[in-house]
């Protein structure tokens, strides 16, 4: 029977090609219904996805737009004249964020781009917005950095070695002289922690606007003095927590304000590093010696110690100049939470830890845990840090109805035992295993149902890095905000009040560690009680 059919088929295939019969038409169109079935399938799938997405969107009530881009800086007036204090690791980054890099740094980025197409540092630096700034003064107590800082300030065309330089900024041997100079309007402070307070106070006394690296102060007493000096002078003050510009934090704030997470009783923030650099064992410059470093000025308000290259370059390892993990890294984490939850100063702090891995003579701990209590908000904030493991634990805000994980991306998952989402979880609309909201910076819009593939790639920093060719450094945005606020007379996001809360909170953690007991904040009298 089948042989007959095959013969027939064969005859059809070999018969006169021009003779198109009914049978040919049917056989030509035989698979078209498959397309119909396909279209129906896609329609049903889309309908299901939309229902799911809409149900979650309605329930969560979050906006899906990116935060609006900041408008370009107003360059119509005179350039803002800036003085830079400190050109160490962070000082170089701040100068670059303002648009000024040392020519050798530009050379290095150019070479990097030539040998590696993925190296976008040069391209990004060239594309970085011009903030209308002129570096008129510099100060660094290490001769090599002092010279480099001045050359960076003169590199107005963002060129490499041999490029056309602008006028050289004036070099000051002492920060007080720089602060008093009539040729500057604003000062960027990137000195060690023990100098943040005195330098800010001196700048404020001279009516110079201040961008100061975190933490705001080294001692508790200075914290009140800095606040007083800044408020009385009316200068524009910005503390260097560039996390204020991270758009996923702004989305996190919205989620918390809208009650997406339900009651929140625990927030966990962490630091995990595992390199000598991450533990502040920074390289010692070959040109550094007592003849090239103004050691007395380095010591300043700190207890006297004989000249030490370790102490000069790795000052973060000693309480004599540093605020340890609390000031360097807890402050970033705390400021992120203060930014999104307005927690303010905690009622109490309790710290434990020790020098467990880096037994190199340092006095600050390399493992530290601090628990802050905010009883009025029914909230505990736990900070846990180690400098000898890179296991990433992230920032997690735990609510009764949902938990949120924060970083460059933001994801919110419903809690399996949530009251608010119980009905939708039961109906299968919400799956606690999958995010009910995820935000990926640079994506056109956030979505309730993000594909698994996108999440995997985004989580590993593989998405949207190069789209449109622009990735903006948050430090640049933070400094831009400061510059724009100086011009418009607005308050920057990490102003003196936020700075005061940051510094007091960090000091409470440090004092608790040093005294090995719980410390309290007397809000009425604004005093830390040890």
């Amino acid at each position: 029977m089948s042989d007959n059919k095959q013969n027939q088929e064969h005859t059809e295939q070999t018969e006169n090609k021009k003779n198109v019969g009914r049978r040919d038409v049917i056989k030509s169109l035989a698979t078209v219904p498959v397309l119909g079935a396909f279209a129906y399938g896609v329609y049903k799938k889309k309908q299901y996805d939309r229902l799911l997405s809409n149900s979650i969107t309605d329930e969560v009530g979050m906006s899906y737009e990116e935060p609006a881009a900041t408008p370009p800086s107003d360059l119509s007036g005179k350039p803002l004249r800036v003085g830079l204090i400190g050109y160490g690791i962070r000082g170089k980054m701040l100068a670059k964020a303002l648009g000024f890099a040392h020519p050798t740094m530009v050379d290095e980025w150019k070479e990097g781009a030539m040998s590696n197409k993925d190296d976008k540092r040069y391209e990004e630096f060239l594309q970085q917005e011009n903030l209308g700034i002129q570096i008129t003064a510099v100060c660094d107590i290490f001769n090599t950095y002092e010279k480099m800082c001045a050359e960076a300030g003169a590199n107005v065309n963002r060129e490499g070695t041999g490029g056309t330089m602008g006028p050289m900024p004036k070099i000051f041997k002492n920060y007080k002289e720089l602060c008093a100079s009539p040729d500057i309007d604003a000062i960027v402070i990137a000195a060690p922690d023990h100098w943040h307070g005195p330098m800010t106070i001196e700048a404020a006394k001279n009516s110079k606007h201040v961008y100061c690296e975190k933490p705001m102060t080294w001692t508790v007493e200075e914290t009140y003095e800095v606040r007083k000096a800044v408020k009385e002078s009316g200068i524009t003050f910005q503390l260097g927590h560039q996390g204020r510009q991270t758009d996923s934090y702004q989305k996190a704030k919205e989620a918390i304000e809208k009650g997406v997470l339900g009651p929140i009783n625990l927030v966990e923030v962490t630091t995990n590093r595992n390199t000598p650099n991450g533990a502040w064992v920074y390289p010692i410059h070959k040109d550094a010696n007592p003849g090239t470093i103004d050691w007395e000025q380095f010591i300043g308000p700190a207890p006297w110690h004989e000249f030490s290259l370790e102490r000069f370059f790795r000052w973060r390892c000693w309480w004599d100049y540093s605020t340890g993990l609390s000031g360097d890294l807890l402050t970033h984490e705390y400021d992120a939470i203060n930014q999104i939850m307005n927690v303010g100063i905690p009622d109490s702090a309790m710290s434990t830890g020790g020098v467990y891995f880096y037994k190199d003579g340092r006095t600050v701990p390399d493992v530290l845990h601090t628990v802050f209590e905010f009883p009025k908000q029914d909230l505990s904030l736990v900070y846990s840090a180690t400098l000898s493991s890179q296991h990433q634990r992230g920032k997690v805000v735990m609510g009764h109805d949902a938990w949120m994980e924060l970083g460059q991306t933001l994801t919110i998952n419903a809690d399996v035992e949530s009251t608010k989402y119980a009905d939708k979880i039961k109906k299968g609309i919400i799956d606690p295993e999958l995010p009910i909201y995820s935000y990926i910076p640079g994506r056109k819009n956030a979505d309730a149902v993000t594909s698994a593939t996108e999440k995997y790639f985004a989580g590993r920093g593989l998405l949207y890095t190069y789209r449109g060719g622009k990735r903006v450094d948050t430090t640049h945005l933070h400094m831009k905000e400061w510059v724009d606020c100086i011009r418009d007379g607005r308050e920057p996001s990490c102003n003196i009040d936020q700075g005061f809360e940051e510094a007091i909170t960090a000091h409470m953690g440090t004092l608790s560690y040093k005294h090995n007991k719980k410390v309290f904040w007397d809000a009425e009298n604004e005093k830390i009680i040890v």
Partner: protein, 160 residues
């Protein structure tokens, strides 16, 4: 190529036809989901590339000019190949185009020893993965022009 004197049994023809249609369906749906997702881009996939040719794929991802072209070629390539395979129209071209795309996917994420990828795989593969299997299945299809028996290619041949 199918020798005109060779005969395919009904079962053979049915099996080949189903293979062609299901591969077409797979291509079409992969293309349609990408077209319907305004956020879709091949960047993450390209950046995740490892192995001998990863430099090539990374350079595609890093080029703001080439990337939209790659994205569009991929999306529309998948859709057109899918439709062509289901309909049996220009079947040969669709098969060769499909094999080219599959080869590109394979060499961007080769399942070689020592290479791991951001996106976890749903199975276990060594040298041979489902992309390779689909590639060879399409090679088989290219040797049996079923479009000329069941499909629009039949009309094209007849009206030439």
């Amino acid at each position: 190529m199918l020798n005109p004197n060779q005969k395919l049994s009904n079962a053979q023809l049915a099996a080949l036809l189903i293979l062609r249609v299901v591969i077409g369906w797979h291509f079409l749906y992969e293309g349609i989901t990408k077209l319907l997702n305004p956020n879709w881009t091949s960047v993450g996939y390209l950046m995740d590339s490892k192995g001998f040719f990863s430099g090539f794929y990374h350079s595609l991802a890093a080029s703001p000019k080439l990337l939209p072209v790659i994205d569009a070629l991929n999306e529309w390539g998948l859709v057109l190949i899918g439709v062509a395979l289901i309909m049996g129209l220009f079947t040969h071209w669709a098969i060769y185009g499909g094999m080219l795309l599959l080869a590109m996917y394979y060499f961007s994420h080769p399942p070689f020893i020592g290479l791991t990828y951001a996106l976890p795989s749903e199975g276990s593969y060594l040298f041979i993965d489902k992309v390779v299997i689909e590639f060879f299945a399409m090679w088989v299809l290219s040797l049996f022009p079923t479009g000329k028996i069941i499909g629009f290619d039949r009309l094209l041949v007849k009206t030439k």
